[in-house]
Symmetry: C2
Subunit: 119 residues, 2 copies
């Protein structure tokens, strides 16, 4: 029934102690999924560049598009994803919409990632 019965592990010398220990520490499926989804949002260089831009200053869609040399549409699509993940928020000022970082986890996570890739 399980994958192990029909596939790779019929004859493997398993280590039940380790398997139980690992399963005990494993978060719920929902949490794992949410966590992966969050990282997936960071896993695109366009979105990383948008977040970096917001490190410095609140900024409107038009300025973002100009800064990143992208179309307004592409930027807008990515901002929507960032907003759904609650990494950014926005406020309207007249015709413009300004985006800003929703909280400081973003900086912390990106800095932690930078430490890793800088080694």
């Amino acid at each position: 029934m399980a994958i192990s019965d029909v596939d790779c592990c019929e004859t493997y010398e398993l280590h039940p102690d380790r398997i139980n220990l690992v399963n005990a520490g494993m978060p719920d499926e929902d949490k794992l999924y949410d966590l992966a989804e969050l990282f997936k949002v960071f896993g695109d260089s366009t979105r990383i560049r948008i977040l970096y831009a917001l490190f410095e200053s609140d900024i409107c869609v038009c300025d973002l598009a100009e800064t990143l040399q992208m179309t307004q549409s592409a930027v807008s699509h990515q901002l929507k994803i960032l907003k759904q993940s609650k990494l950014v928020s926005s406020r309207r000022e007249g015709k413009s919409v300004f985006y800003f970082l929703a909280d400081d986890h973003v900086r912390t996570m990106i800095n932690q990632g930078l430490e890793h890739v800088s080694e």
Copy 2:
């Protein structure tokens, strides 16, 4: 020539001060790419589950496959990606290969992500 000339920003009221500020703080293209690639590795629930497993104990491929109810091949492919990103390392013990976390950034990053999704 630039995208802005032909597309979205011909008539936009840009804010040069903000744009310059943002560009000054923007890391190199290479660094941005590496950073996005790193996050992309975290952005898959299978790999997150593997990393969680390694929080508890070094573990061999077979036990990982059994624990996560996946085929040995799928686990092995993902371990390769994690290893290329230097998030895990491995040592051989006889026929088995044991994997373990390469450094503590992994824990820090995942915990930081958890804080965000737990709000």
